[in-house]
């Protein structure tokens, strides 16, 4: 008797475990029900008005998609549970099973349909050109030719402008940065999805909407292809919410409702033919390799220039730390400790987006070189300091006793010996910087890793592109380390 009671209970407990294994007979719908929560993937970073931390209580996420997810989950009879994931990686993370659905401004496009299944649309968006207040010169897409135009990375506008060509497209990681740079005159205009434009640009007194919205597109809920049951449930939920007026209420609350919205959602019939899901970029390397190499050129330029700056400034810092008068010594010590003790990413943000507030407006290239250079100078200073201190005191004394000044002794006797000692750690740092340079994509530099990211999120061939990209990185850094070894041998003077 006891077993008759216990067995179903045990099975109920075990069910989620069985379901976790793929191709198991039970569906994601059952899994969601047994869990009591619909896990939806989204990126809350710079995610307003879709999903973002509540400014009044940052532990809480708000946004029209938060309301939507809650309403949709309610229709399924469960809670909604948000899973944070970077926007670029949402589709791949869905495939990996990090969450049940993607609900985060995912456009219904042939590319997405090739990879995952998508629900009927829950919002019809358009594109809006945004310019500085009083600039009416760009009201149509064609007006943007030859102009510097900011877009959100991997957005519909990004694809649109890339396809159009002839536009100097600047890719941004977030919308706040785009608006900031537009006002700072680093770009001439921006093209945004209407929800973004309504939330970020509309309230900004320095910006204006230029021309009419165009290029209607649809956001849908992303679901794994095998989860047909879940897709049906989601579609039903969206129709229900639309019919009951709940959807309208949510959009009105966020100022996103427009006259055509209801009709567009109701009469959505366009079935987009999915393109072939996986592209083998390795087979089509002739197309992809040149694009990656273009990014590699930027990577090399930035790395070499910033290392030059780091090596020069680092030497100055080391010398002033070792031989400077007390305040100078104190200052250079403070510089080294602060630059080493704070993240490069924050330094880059401050240099590129923060300095304009002080009237210093650098291009993204300048900011990238400066940021990396200033950061690595701190590390090079420490390398030099160790190298100089490794030279016996007797060398300096012998030089001084010959009547050389301290500076002459340093330049002619101590530094040439120290250089040989510091070549291995400095070349090590150069290779590290070379890879760290991928961080500058946050200030709109499109370098090798960024190109990889952009291509991978459209082709989904993370592996093939990754192999090519890694090969390029290695092909550049390995000769660099060979060159360092060669120079080190060349400077050898301790013969046995």
């Amino acid at each position: 008797m006891t077993s008759a009671v216990l067995l179903p209970a045990l099975l109920a407990l075990l069910r989620p475990v069985f379901c976790a294994a793929s191709d198991s007979p039970c569906t994601t719908v059952q899994e969601v029900e047994s869990r009591g929560a619909l896990r939806w993937g989204a990126d809350a970073e710079g995610g307003a008005p879709y999903v973002f931390p509540d400014p009044r209580d940052p532990r809480q996420y708000i946004g029209f998609e938060v309301d939507l997810a809650r309403a949709m989950a309610g229709k399924l009879g469960v809670r909604a549970e948000m899973v944070q994931n970077s926007w670029d990686g949402l589709v791949s993370a869905l495939d990996r099973g990090s969450f049940d659905v993607v609900l985060n401004g995912l456009e219904i496009t042939p590319e997405h349909l090739g990879q995952i299944a998508m629900s009927r649309p829950y919002y019809a968006y358009t594109q809006q050109i945004v310019t500085r207040k009083g600039d009416g010169s760009m009201t149509r897409l064609e007006d943007l030719a030859g102009k510097r135009v900011g877009v959100l990375s991997a957005s519909a506008a990004h694809r649109l402008l890339e396809k159009m060509g002839g536009v100097d497209v600047r890719v941004y990681p977030g919308n706040v940065e785009t608006c900031k740079d537009l006002k700072n005159r680093r770009i001439d205009a921006s093209v945004m999805d209407t929800p973004i434009a309504l939330h970020y640009a509309k309230p900004d007194p320095g910006l204006q909407f230029s021309g009419k919205p165009f290029a209607v597109g649809y956001y849908g809920v992303g679901v794994r292809k095998k989860d047909t049951k879940l897709l049906e449930a989601v579609d039903r939920a969206i129709l229900d919410l639309l019919a009951s007026g709940e959807l309208r209420k949510i959009y009105l609350k966020w100022g996103l409702w427009d006259a055509e919205q209801g009709d567009r959602l109701r009469h959505y019939t366009v079935v987009q033919t999915p393109t072939e899901g996986k592209v083998s970029t390795l087979k089509e390397w002739r197309v992809f390799l040149p694009m990656l190499l273009k990014g590699a050129v930027v990577t090399v330029e930035i790395s070499c220039l910033s290392m030059l700056l780091a090596v020069g400034l680092g030497l100055g810092l080391a010398l002033s730390r070792l031989f400077g008068v007390t305040p100078v010594r104190w200052l250079s010590t403070a510089y080294v400790e602060v630059m080493r003790g704070t993240p490069l990413l924050i330094q880059l943000y401050m240099i590129y987006y923060g300095l304009p507030n002080l009237g210093i407006r650098l291009t993204s290239f300048e900011a990238a070189v400066l940021g990396l250079g200033l950061n690595y100078a701190a590390y090079e200073a420490e390398n030099y300091r160790a190298g100089i201190q490794a030279i016996p005191e007797g060398q300096m004394e012998a030089a001084l006793s010959l009547g050389m000044t301290r500076w002459q002794a340093l330049r002619r006797v101590v530094l040439p010996q120290a250089v040989r000692i510091v070549i291995p750690p400095i070349s090590n740092d150069f290779i590290a910087l070379f890879k760290d340079s991928s961080l500058v994509s946050v200030i709109t530099m499109v370098e090798l890793t960024k190109v990889y990211g952009m291509l991978a999120t459209t082709t989904y061939d993370y592996m093939g592109l990754g192999l090519m990209t890694a090969a390029i990185y290695f092909g550049l850094s390995y000769p660099a380390s060979l060159a360092a070894k060669f120079i080190e041998r060349k400077l050898r003077y301790d013969f046995d």
Binding site: A398, L400, L402, G403, Y493
Partner: protein, 281 residues
């Protein structure tokens, strides 16, 4: 040539030099001896301005540097640089520049400090290398030379600045016995040519043969000074006698393994008797 007046220096509370006064004539050779820590190296380093001093005055040629309460005037600090270029220093550890060949070591200061032309400096440098018996080692790096050869290059390097005074800080004590003699020979030649030399050494044969005067230092003071043979024979202080005993080879050592000690190194008894090994040259 050199005049040291009432020189004092202390590290923290330790009095390293305690009122040293010494005069040295041109072409005079003075050998400075004393137990380790007696201040002889510090005295040499003060003369070459590698070390500052607290009180007193140092005069070399027409340059005088005076210290009061550990402070030098700005003008005196600038004089230190000139002083160094007129005073040559030979270190116990050679301190050759390892990244330069022998000839590059020698021409470095003449070219950067005196702004001599490269060609002129090399010509003089090769002459100096010949003088120390190393004309065939010009393009060797220090790591390719023996200790004795390195020290001879170091002497040539100091001479290249044409100093008025040469200071030697235990120039042979880091060398194997068989390598010392080459260095001592160069020093003897230099003394014979009339170089003013102040030498800290334990090589008593050199002291006996070449020193015009010997100075014994202890605890930062000059305990006694005088001609070498007089000090060997009749040291005024018991401390001097004890010290000389410790640094001179004993007779028993000589018969110990049947092999005589280095031929140029006389025993204490030989020195006291004025006999022993013949003087070189």
């Amino acid at each position: 040539m050199i005049s040291i007046e009432n020189l004092s220096k202390s590290f923290r509370h330790h009095e390293v030099l305690d009122g040293i006064s010494l005069k040295q004539d041109k072409a005079e050779v003075i050998v400075l001896i004393g137990p380790s820590g007696c201040g002889k190296t510090t005295l040499l380093r003060c003369l070459n301005a590698l070390e500052t001093f607290d009180e007193g005055r140092i005069t070399i040629g027409d340059i005088a540097i005076t210290a009061h309460h550990g402070h030098l005037s700005r003008a005196d600090r600038e004089k230190q640089l000139i002083l160094r270029s007129r005073v040559g220093m030979v270190f116990q550890g050679f301190n050759l520049f390892p990244h330069m060949t022998a000839i590059e070591n020698i021409i470095e200061a003449p070219v950067t400090v005196k702004e001599l032309s490269q060609a002129m400096a090399v010509k003089r440098g090769l002459d100096l290398l010949a003088k120390v018996g190393l004309e065939d080692k010009a393009d060797f790096y220090p790591s390719q030379l023996s200790g004795g050869q390195q020290q001879r290059v170091a002497i040539a390097r100091a001479l290249a600045m044409e100093p008025e005074v040469m200071l030697f800080d235990e120039p042979t004590s880091a060398l194997d016995p068989e390598l010392k003699e080459d260095v001592l020979r160069v020093m003897r030649e230099l003394a014979n040519e009339g170089m003013t030399m102040l030498v800290v050494t334990h090589e008593m044969s050199f002291a006996r043969d070449m020193a015009d005067r010997m100075v014994f230092m202890e605890k930062g003071r000059i305990l006694e000074e005088g001609p070498a043979d007089v000090m060997f024979r009749t040291p005024k202080h018991e401390r001097t006698r004890e010290f000389l005993k410790t640094i001179l080879p004993k007779k028993s050592f000589r018969s110990g393994n049947g092999k005589p000690p280095h031929p140029k190194q006389p025993t204490f008894d030989e020195l006291l008797n004025g006999g022993g090994a013949p003087a070189a040259d």
